[in-house]
Symmetry: C2
Subunit: 698 residues, 2 copies
């Protein structure tokens, strides 16, 4: 690769420059970006971000310039070096969990300690006894032991009860024998297991005296603490490359009659009594249940920000990129039109911009609900502790809230992660050809995010949980023994008004807009109830209806949460009226676009009329796009992604899109170190290989 000649260095993009365009664009809006950012994230969080960003940027190992070029092996090596350094920095700067998570967010790639730092530590903490904490948790917290959480198997994903790995209690020497009876029993997809971990929490079917007791967690050492070679009876490795997530060593694990001592079964909730050889039942299963809910709530909370990265990149690029003249422009007018001016582009991007805020406020509400439930559960668990002999005790309201929380977290996890994943791809395509370049910055982010639609409950599977809850609530309302919560209230309202009809003024009133979503959910619930309870249709035949119902309900929750966030005291206190007005328009855009997309459910439930939907489609939505458009750039700026985090030529805050694309291709791209022999009849493939010059040193 010859050095870049001077005449190339002298070239600039043709006028107007991206930097000018983006400056003019910013000046179009009077929104206070800083106030809005503080309102969304708090000043503390943004200050933490700035502090940690500075530390990371100074470290050579976190330099991102070769990220998009490396193959699997190099990607993993770099990720491991980064994981080590990150842990060193954590110790050095005495970072708490929030600091560490912030650093991870800024680095924005999964790392080999990922499952150690999350699921391994959490499981030991949550399900271990004090004695087990001493034995397993402490060395893990100090990274003297590196662990992972091994549940999923090659033949068994969602269905935990179907796991094949066994843990057989051996009363003679008081041990468990962990074993993989079939190839399909191989643990699979286990993060940090492939190359990194030397311990695993293995979920296995507990068997005592030939009788199965369901899946339970066992701590199992899998590699030698010094040589890091697999132990006897352990076959372990990385499962191979994936669509994304290739910085992580997802692994497989087969166990051949591996013995672990009695202490290795995590025993906070259930255990085997080594004296009697009897199984002791879990004291409060609902506490375990809570962990999954927390994980799902976190996914909901993050989904807005995940999508906002793509929307930020696509919106900024659409302000810099110009294509074609406006067809109706007066002849003689010069220059191409900013892509963001085209309604077709606005129609694709601005509803997603609205969705980022909708999901953000929904995530915050979801987390508040989770915290509220934790408080109630803790109170309930304390009661149970004092009555241990009598078994678990739960207050009625605690159980109701938990059921509501469980269903809400399932439905919103499915809707939020689907919206974010599919929205990112819309953003990528809205960037035209350059969206396909790795330097665009959306592709890799999207690919890494995609598994979120499958893990912690496949997004289609989860909808059954929501439907089950809604059917149960509807039955209770009909019987008159329902708890008083939002779900039962909207059902009751629906039943009262069903015959009169609804007549929601969705175009004129925000609260009516929310009510129309509630109406549709209620209608679909009672329809599904009729199919199941009256017509006695099979569960399987109703899965598509349940999926629709869950989606409808979750959309209602998002619309309601966005609406409620706009009514909050703190909003009026922290934001100026101009900003509030734009947020209000984003709310209406999100709600009306959703209403229009799902039109047939809205009119067939009589929530709205056909005419209203036509007006929403042709007038209201198009008007909102026009009104929001001048604020688009400021609204994405408010998400406050540092350029270092986005790692995107197209999403640069300063608009220097083309300079950056060119620099990366011309100066950073190792492929340009290859000089080939292009003729098919030549035996020589490569004449000169200077690719190594481009590789960054760790």
């Amino acid at each position: 690769m010859s050095p870049t000649p001077q005449w190339v260095k002298d070239l600039k993009p043709s006028a107007p420059q991206g930097a000018e365009l983006i400056k003019v664009e910013r000046e179009k809006s009077k929104i206070s970006v800083e106030k809005l950012s503080n309102f969304l994230f708090t000043k503390d969080v943004l200050e933490r971000q700035a502090k940690i960003l500075k530390i990371l940027e100074a470290e050579k190992v976190f330099d991102k310039s070769q990220n998009y070029f490396d193959g699997r092996v190099d990607k993993f090596k770099t990720a491991l070096a980064r994981a080590k350094r990150l842990r060193q920095l954590q110790v050095k700067h005495n970072w708490n969990r929030d600091d560490y998570m912030m650093a991870n967010d800024l680095i924005s790639e999964p790392g080999p300690y990922g499952l150690h730092a999350s699921m391994y530590l959490t499981t030991l903490e949550g399900q271990g006894t004090p004695e087990q904490h001493k034995l397993f948790l402490e060395p893990a917290q100090n990274y003297k032991a590196i662990g992972c959480y091994a549940q999923t198997e090659l033949g068994h994903g969602s269905n935990v009860r179907g796991l094949e790995t066994t843990a057989t209690w051996n009363p003679e020497d008081k041990t468990f024998i962990l074993h993989s009876p079939h190839l399909t029993a191989s643990k699979w997809w286990i993060g940090s297991l492939g190359r990194t971990a030397n311990h695993a929490v293995v979920m296995a079917q507990l068997i005592i005296a030939g009788k199965p007791y369901g899946p339970h967690p066992f701590v199992c050492q899998i590699r030698d603490m010094k040589t890091h070679e697999p132990l006897e009876g352990v076959h372990v490795g990385d499962i191979g490359p994936k669509f994304g997530y290739n910085t992580m060593d997802n692994g497989f694990l087969l166990l051949n009659h591996v013995k672990v001592p009695h202490i290795n079964m995590l025993a906070k909730f259930s255990r085997v009594d080594p004296e009697t050889n009897k199984y002791v039942k879990p004291s409060s299963p609902s506490l375990i249940y809570g962990t999954l809910t927390w994980v799902r709530s976190t996914i909901v909370l993050q989904s807005g920000g995940v999508l906002a990265r793509g929307v930020t990149i696509a919106t900024r690029y659409a302000a810099v990129r110009r294509q074609f003249q406006d067809r109706d422009a007066p002849s003689g007018s010069d220059g191409e039109n900013q892509v963001l001016n085209y309604t077709m582009v606005q129609f694709r991007l601005l509803p997603l911009l609205a969705a980022t805020f909708a999901l953000h406020f929904t995530g915050k509400a979801m987390m508040a609900l989770y915290q509220e439930n934790q408080k109630q559960m803790q109170a309930s668990a304390n009661t149970a502790d004092t009555n241990r002999g009598a078994g678990p005790e739960e207050t009625h309201s605690g159980s109701d809230l938990l059921a509501d929380l469980h269903a809400t977290s399932c439905g919103l996890k499915a809707l939020g992660s689907t919206t974010a994943a599919e929205g990112l791809e819309v953003c990528r395509r809205a960037c035209g050809g350059h969206g396909y370049s790795s330097f665009g910055g959306i592709g890799a982010w999207y690919a890494d995010y995609l598994p979120t639609t499958t893990w912690e409950g496949d997004n289609y599977m989860l909808t059954q949980q929501v439907a089950r809850y809604l059917l149960k609530s509807a039955r209770a309302v009909l019987k008159g023994n329902a708890p008083n919560n939002d779900t039962t209230r909207i059902f009751t309202t629906f039943l009262q008004k069903q015959d009169m009809g609804a007549a929601h003024d969705v175009l004129g009133s925000d609260s009516d807009l929310v009510a129309a979503f509630a109406w549709r959910t209620s209608f679909l619930t009672f329809e599904a109830l009729k199919h199941r309870d009256v017509e006695k249709n099979s569960w399987n035949s109703l899965l598509v209806d349940f999926w629709r119902l869950s989606t409808a309900h979750s959309q209602y929750l998002v619309v309601k949460n966005f609406y409620e966030a706009l009514q909050s005291e703190s909003l009026r206190y922290e934001l100026d009226p101009a900003t509030i007005d734009v947020l209000h328009k984003l709310f209406r855009l999100y709600a009306l676009i959703t209403l229009e997309k799902e039109a047939s459910e809205f009119y067939s439930s009589s929530a709205v009329t056909v005419r209203q939907i036509q007006l929403a489609r042709t007038k209201a939505v198009m008007k909102l796009l026009e009104e929001i458009r001048p604020h688009a750039l400021s609204l994405v700026d408010a998400w406050q992604f540092p350029d270092w985090q986005l790692d995107s030529s197209l999403g640069r805050k300063d608009g220097k899109v083309y300079e950056d694309m060119f620099y990366r291709a011309s100066e950073l791209n190792p492929l340009n170190g290859l000089t080939v022999d292009p003729y098919p009849d030549s035996d020589v493939l490569i004449k000169k290989d200077e690719t190594s010059k481009f590789k960054s040193k760790l």
Copy 2:
């Protein structure tokens, strides 16, 4: 990496085995797979496939086992070695173009000769004079010169008129000076340019005596024929990694006042007279127009097969994969349920299966239309040739057919490639977690296909072409001077019946179903016409309406083409009634699912009633899914993808899914050659590196 122990080698998947499940599944259907395959592709094509597959499988360089592991540089090296070998095989076996394309399809990855073999040769052939054929085409056909087609620029994608590269005519020495005045003028995305080509057809703005004449093609040598180093004034390289397509060296190119002789401007259609220094206009611009239409028609033709790969993989895996018990299964019934039995899975996969056939038949019809047009154009061009002095001459009907062909190819390209791309992702997710593994085989295929939604006309941009044509046709119908074709006929029908209403029996009659789609297109066309011509709305404000209109029209065309294919003589001659019956159900499923998805346009146009849509949704579609399900596996088998082509553990014809996943992870995965030091406070990253043992030798 220690060798696989014997106890691992002895393991089998738990019963029932995938091979058994898939065998039972195949026996469920009485469809004649072979007859259906022959009907779809012809026996000749399938025999060619078998012949060429055998040759490729025997060549070490085409071994796919390391494809999913390599980084960018290695991917490209392997692809270059394959491209060379493929060309050698072409010469050795005297392959014609169809043979060569078949080999490419089976290899299924873009290669560094890709744009040489397609656009470079085609452009020279189509736009060069006999003298230029001798000078440029012949060495290119013999691979003595390797070329590419350089049109797109860093700052200019779809808008060809906006290209910045200039070709200034220099009357003194009868040369053109090719120049890139700005950074944004850099050619970008040019396939085969980055590392491979030594020639390019450069599209540049022709300038004569200071006056611009628009973009024209110039042949330009860019690299030394011996050293392969860039020539003086040429800055060229690879543009960097992409979301997919990383076996191809898409390149950039900047030119600094590079001189080429007069002969290098391709002059079949327009040229500069070197004596008078005057521009000579194109003799028949519509012939150039035709090439783009051919490229788009090819995309339509391929879209069915592109999607069918994903549907094949997902359907086969859904027959092998089992998750959960049926909720309504009698207690005591054993084993998990095949995933393909769940209606939620059927609802996602079977409409896509229907779409593969719909697109296949549509593609064939589109190609027939293209051939018909070529015939007419050739006749017309011959007339023009005899009247050259008088300029191009076109018959009225030739021009009408061309306009129709242009609009049809734009609309169907957009719909077909969007359906295929988005459908592949639906298939990938329907495979659950394993769909995310590279071994699933859908991810890489999807990633490589994605640019099809953007190139040859961005799928959103293209919809404007369709709308323009439909508006023009509608105006002609209103004025009474319309040509007699299908579009004007459906408009006329609509205008006649508009006041009476439609009353299409979409649930009872297939022809009514087609008519309902025609009705909706007509309704949307006259609505858009009113917005544009009566209400005088701006073009920009109507882009979303135009996109909807184009989609509606294209869906109509797909439904109509599928319907007409089922009425054909040859179908009844070649297929047995049972197979025809299933194809018929696929037609209804495709049409009804589309109708239901786009419900609000169907009822607001009064094409159908709300009640009909509800029935379609809740009854008709669910019943069709149930009826088609037993034939699903046979229907994907009929697409006849060899395992070697699919390169997918999940899509194996023999159902040995888990064995293959495990083999690839355990035996082929180079990452398992790394033994790491897992502790963060250790300076050692890698204890042992045996990754090179896994690399295949070229």
